[in-house]
Amino acid sequence: MEGCLQTIADYALRSVGIGERLLPRTDFTLCQQFTLIGSGLIWNVYFGVLALLSGFVLATVVALGKAATNPLLRKPAEWFIFVFRGSPLFIQFFFAYFLFLSLKQVVPWTEPLSTAALGALVVLFLNTAAYSGEIFYGALRSVPKGDTEAAAAYGIEGWTRFRRITWPTMLRLAWPAYTNEAIFLFHATTLVFFTGFPARQQQGDALYYAQYFADKTFNPFVPYPILAGYFILLTLVIIGIMGAVNRHLNRHLPQAAGKRPRLLPQIMR
């Protein structure tokens, strides 16, 4: 137990460069595996939370763009969604990494983009904006006509109508699918360190460390179940938070309490 506390002190923040410099090399304990893989989860949460928050804003813009009648707005939004939803995230990461490398040669101040912390975040941000944009676009088209007509009858028009009527209803309708997208986004963050983006000084995410242990011990039956456990917990946390938001969005409806996002909805990435 003493030893385990020491291990936690040494490795709990190893993934962000605080603590012991060298990773354990021999005599791997269960405690080390739990601590390091958990430490890597910091990166997954970092990528997931920041991409989700920034992507949310762009997704609203993209959804409005796709719903616009003006082709100058609609076409770029349609192409953006097509490019990011039609190609594998894995290839997007590779392409972006090599693009950023070339960019660095020409424009030196773009160098931070070739690190995982920023470059991969940009890719995830654009990717989730495209997927959520499509979800929001679908919801936008399902906003009941009566709602906007009632708003017009009350003299609520233009920007005010969008902010107070259309947008909240769109979010309410999109939320179950959006919860699903959030879960898949967190899963997708495990791809980052397998796609060229370097794990500087072995500072990687949860899957990076799980693979490290599997390679060193040649025993996949310990690190991967640990990783799976962490991710199931993370998924439950996401469902909890998104469920709370969903209750808030639906609070004016009669049977709001009963409708939670389902654990296994049909729609997927």
Partner: protein, 294 residues
């Protein structure tokens, strides 16, 4: 490839490119696109088979089987698919070798796990160390296919389970009223009718499957991602007749366009298929088709 390719240094740009793009290694790269298509052609039906088994288990009347089916669906969907890929490739390999070890070498005394090693007797190795190169590659590919089938089988099971539940209750009750057994009802009533309900989900799954094929690279197969990295890397005149700077960005751009075209074509085909299946059906989609024609 071409006769004028003997001395690449003297060629103009167009001919240089023609020679460069037809080197032996580039032909391997093009063949790797075939590997992707073969993977899809084998994986799609086997994932469907796993999905069918999972979905049937999940609605079984026998509780442990039901838990197994539901657990299979829930766990694979709750954990990143890439973690499963990395896990199954080693786990399946070790599992197969262990089974062969137990059957082929019953007198083996030493423990199998020795520190960081997994040691089975030489006869149990898969593939045998004396096997030719293509057997090694084929074995790696087969493991990859099985891994894909297990992971995407869970997604398919989720879709098929939903489709089986969507078959109208009255249909099943009618079958029961005619005295059909549970098994007969399943085979004659539920299965033939579920496909219309399953098609949107399966179409979606096909797209997800296409977009998962680059993960073959992580399973150690020499696929398009492997070749794009190899061929695109900067080449010096010392080691290559066709020296060039780092072109990996362009190779991955080509892959990006390949996948965009592939998903676009699939989308169009699935839309056609869905129209054809909905034709004349008493569903909203069928009604919309009828109105569009009138």
């Amino acid at each position: 490839m071409f006769s004028f390719c003997t001395d690449p240094d003297t060629l103009d740009t167009g001919r240089w490119l023609a020679c460069y793009l037809t080197t032996g290694r580039h032909l391997n790269f093009y063949a790797a696109f075939g590997t992707v298509l073969i993977l899809l052609a084998i994986t799609a039906p086997s994932a469907l088979a796993f999905g069918f088994a999972g979905a049937s288990a999940a609605r079984s009347g026998f509780a442990p089987l039901r838990w197994l089916g539901k657990g299979y669906i829930a766990i694979v969907r709750g954990v990143p698919d890439i973690a499963f890929f990395l896990f199954f490739v080693i786990a399946l390999d070790q599992g197969l070798e262990y089974l062969r070890h137990v059957t082929l070498c019953p007198n083996w005394e030493e423990p199998i796990r020795q520190g960081a090693n997994f040691l089975v007797c030489p006869e149990a190795k898969l593939p045998l160390s004396s096997a030719p190169q293509w057997v090694h590659e084929g074995y790696g590919f087969a493991l990859a296919v099985l891994t894909f089938a297990i992971v995407f089988g869970a997604f398919a099971a989720n879709v098929l389970f939903g489709a089986m539940q969507a078959v109208p209750r009255a249909q099943i009750e009618t079958a029961e009223a005619y005295g059909m057994t549970r098994r007969q009802t399943f085979r004659r009533i539920v299965v033939p009718q579920m496909w219309v309900y399953a098609l949107p989900g399966l179409g979606n799954l096909w797209m997800v499957l296409i977009k998962a094929t680059p993960l073959l690279f992580l399973l150690g197969v020499e696929d398009i991602v492997y070749w794009a990295r190899e061929l695109g890397a900067a080449k010096t005149p010392r080691f290559s007749d066709y020296p060039h700077p780092d072109w990996r960005m362009w190779y991955f751009l080509a892959l990006l366009i390949f996948y965009l075209a592939f998903t676009r074509v699939s989308e169009v085909v699935i839309a056609r298929l869905s129209d054809r299946l909905s034709h004349g059906q008493a569903t909203a989609a069928g009604e919309a088709l009828r109105k569009a024609r009138a």
